[in-house]
């Protein structure tokens, strides 16, 4: 099924959970020294995940199954790109 990640279309398997996407993205950003420092300080990357225009609380991430046409954004906790 088609979803949008950071403004660009992507194909994901039906039944894909937001958690799968988050894990994939977190793996990349966890090499970043600024993120490493934040994890050391706060225990988490502080990355923000936005689904269809709303910030998803960390506790909700595991519960969400992505749907056709979903718009997912991830935002760094710094300037927000």
């Amino acid at each position: 099924m088609k979803i949008t990640i950071n403004g660009r279309p992507e194909e994901v398997a039906p039944g894909t959970r937001l958690r799968n996407l988050v894990d994939r993205l977190e793996e990349r950003v966890r090499r970043d020294p600024m993120i490493i420092a934040l994890i050391a300080k706060t225990g988490k990357s502080q990355m923000l995940y936005i689904l269809n225009g709303t910030v998803v609380p960390a506790a909700e991430i595991d519960r969400i199954e992505l749907q056709e046409g979903d718009d997912v954004r991830y935002v760094h906790p710094f300037f927000g790109g």
């Binding site: 950071n6 403004g7 660009r8 990349r28 950003v29 090499r31 970043d32 020294p33 600024m34 420092a37 934040l38 706060t42 502080q46 923000l48 936005i50 225009g53 709303t54 910030v55 954004r73 935002v75 760094h76 906790p77 710094f78 300037f79 927000g80 790109g81």
Partner: protein, 624 residues
């Protein structure tokens, strides 16, 4: 096209004439508005040979299709003209509500040329335009002049003014509005001074039709809600609505991006502990002071209640306290804020001020300037009273060093000589803003190749890829690895895209700082489309940015830019620092990266747009 009036107000101060000029749709379809429109005005009206202080220079105050909508960041507007610091076309962004009011007066821009016989200010009250005597305002600082104009004309007017530095033609004099926002870079306050123009007041009651009001309204609400939510979800030390740009200390210090001791050092722990962050809020009693409709709220209103630096007013932005604090090794937050307040009142751009003073402090350290030159002041690193006093001397253009420093450190170092050009951290006549090129090499490329406002951190902020983790995924710039900050791989493409991105933002016009809470290119495109009805795709948007960049480059060529100008960058950045994460790094390979950038853009190796490139963009002839 919707979202614009197709009308600009022309004012000739020499002849005391005003009139409306119609602007056809294709001009907006090509250049949108704001800085793009200001560049178009120069192209049409200012031939080769016109200089900054020439009455023929056009000072353009321009809104874009986004002014008038209730979206966070849509209060931005643009100033353009020929700059006295870089001696070429330039633009500067400014905010609050003047641009909105100008649009409500039924015009997209005010274009001012000529030179008045005596000091004047302009009053634009919907369709009625008057040129008024400002003899009594001459000599007032920028805030006093604003108060005087509003007292006479009414509080409902939005006002711009310049202070004494603008009157006295300090090459980096700015103009301000609402005592909180500044067209800071490139000396447009001095252009006002050269025209004997002290201020402009505007008020309007007209509503410019947009293409899809309901769609735009829904979009604005969704964007505003999301931006506020993102900011509130961040860790405290990066939250803009709490800290404004004072959050940048926590962000930039670990990345080696701060300007320290005239860019000669990599760390300054005492300064990092006291400038920005929580100490900023507590020392300055900082409270958010947003522009109209803004939910990000980067501006702060501050109050230092007692002591030698007591004041109430705007809090310094990151660039201000970095250039006057870190760069001079001054760690007294209140002193730096107070000097910033003085600078704002005189209308001195705080980035250039910090840069020229760092050059002077280093001259003093090396014995090239002595107390005989410095009004008896010790220009020693960390000397806060010297910062304050020198700010006054430059603002007043005091005979001697104060006057000389008002010329900028390029001219000052050429006059003083003795090798001082080597630590004049400037390019093309403009001091470099508060980003260390050694921390991410793309900064060097950005400054060397900037065409919109010469070397400028906000006209192609590709350094944000690393220092702010700001990407443009819709245009193919997404995740980068940290180590890439010291690589030239893909630098040409990334730099070009950020130049074009800044151009569409500054022409739409929208506040770039909304990106601090994740404003996206999708947001920008949808907003432009609901305002204008252009129905653009991301490719169209990028092409618009490319077109504006190329127009600016053509203007650079007209006003005397030469290829070697791009390669005359500050020598300081070729000296490695010995401490911090950027220790030992210097941007080796920059020359080739500049040429690669030219080629990526479709320019020849001399840095000129090729005929084929101009054809591709439809720029063989400029519309209008």
């Amino acid at each position: 096209m919707n979202g614009v009036w197709n009308r600009i107000l022309k004012i000739d101060l020499t002849e005391k004439k005003t009139g409306i000029q119609a602007v056809p749709d294709p001009v907006y379809e090509y250049f949108l508005g704001g800085e793009g429109l200001a560049a178009w005005v120069l192209w049409k009206e200012c031939p080769r040979g016109v200089t900054a202080f020439d009455p023929a220079n056009r000072l353009t105050l321009a809104a874009g299709p986004m002014q008038g909508i209730r979206q966070s960041g849509a209060s931005k507007w643009a100033v353009g003209g020929i700059s006295p610091s870089i001696q070429m076309n330039a633009g500067s962004a400014i905010t609050h509500a003047f641009g909105i009011e100008m649009k409500q007066a039924g015009i997209d821009a005010v274009v001012i040329h000529g030179r008045a016989e005596k000091p004047v200010y302009l009053v634009i009250d919907d369709d009625r335009v008057r040129v008024k005597d400002a003899s009594r305002l001459w000599g007032l600082d920028a805030y006093e002049a604003q108060d005087a104009i509003q007292e006479k004309e009414g509080e409902a007017f939005e006002v711009i003014t310049t202070g004494q530095a603008g009157e006295r033609l300090v090459r980096y004099a700015n103009l301000q509005t609402a005592k909180k926002s500044f067209a800071g870079r490139c000396g447009f306050g001095a252009v006002m001074g050269s025209k004997l123009l002290k201020g402009v007041a505007v008020r309007g009651t007209q509503k410019c039709a947009i293409h899809d009001p309901a769609g735009n309204d829904a979009l604005n609400k969704a964007i505003n809600r999301r931006l506020a939510e993102v900011d509130a979800s961040k860790p405290e030390e990066f939250r803009i609505s709490w800290l404004g740009t004072a959050m940048a200390t926590a962000l930039f210090a670990p990345q080696g991006n701060l300007p320290i001791k005239n860019y000669s050092r990599g760390t300054f722990p005492e300064g990092v502990a006291k400038l920005g962050g929580r100490p900023y809020v507590e020392t300055l009693n900082a409270k958010p002071w947003p522009c109209k409709y803004c939910v990000i709220k980067c501006h702060n209103k501050c109050e230092v209640k007692s002591g030698p630096y007591a004041y109430r007013g705007k809090g310094p932005e990151y660039e201000s306290f970095a250039m006057m604090g870190f760069n001079l090794m001054i760690d007294d937050q209140a002193a730096v804020a107070y000097a910033g307040e003085l600078a704002n009142r005189y209308s001195l751009d705080t980035i250039s001020l910090g840069g020229v003073l760092a050059w002077a402090f280093e001259c003093y350290e090396k014995g090239i300037l002595t107390r005989e030159d410095t009004y008896g002041l010790e220009l020693t690193w960390g000397n806060a009273p010297a910062l304050v006093e020198m700010t006054r001397r430059i603002g007043e253009r005091a005979p001697g060093l104060g006057y000389l420093l008002g010329e900028g450190c390029k001219i000052a170092s050429e006059r003083i000589g003795q090798g001082s050009e080597d630590w004049a951290v400037q390019m093309k006549g403009q001091e470099i803003a508060a980003h260390n090129w050694r921390a991410q090499y793309i900064s060097a490329l950005n400054y060397c190749t900037g065409v919109a406002s010469g070397p400028n951190h906000e006209r192609g902020n590709s350094q944000h890829i690393w220092v702010g983790h700001r990407y443009l995924p819709e245009w193919g710039i997404d995740h980068v690895e940290n180590e890439e900050r010291w690589s030239w791989d893909k630098a040409a493409e990334r730099n070009a895209k950020f130049h074009d991105y800044c151009n569409v933002i500054n022409s739409a016009v929208h506040c770039k700082f909304q990106e601090f809470a994740g404003y996206t290119l999708t947001d920008l495109l949808q907003t432009i489309n609901t305002c204008t009805g252009l129905g653009w795709t991301q490719d169209d948007l990028q092409r618009c940015g490319d077109r504006i960049t190329n127009l600016q480059k053509l203007l650079n060529l007209r006003y005397g830019w030469k290829r070697e100008d791009d390669f005359r960058y500050p020598k300081r950045f070729l000296e490695p620092v010995s401490d911090g994460v950027a220790a030992g790094r210097i941007p080796v390979g920059l020359e080739q990266a500049i040429v690669d950038y030219y080629r990526y853009r479709g320019w020849d190796d001399e840095g000129r747009p090729t005929p084929q490139k101009l054809r591709e963009l439809g720029l063989e002839t400029i519309p209008g």
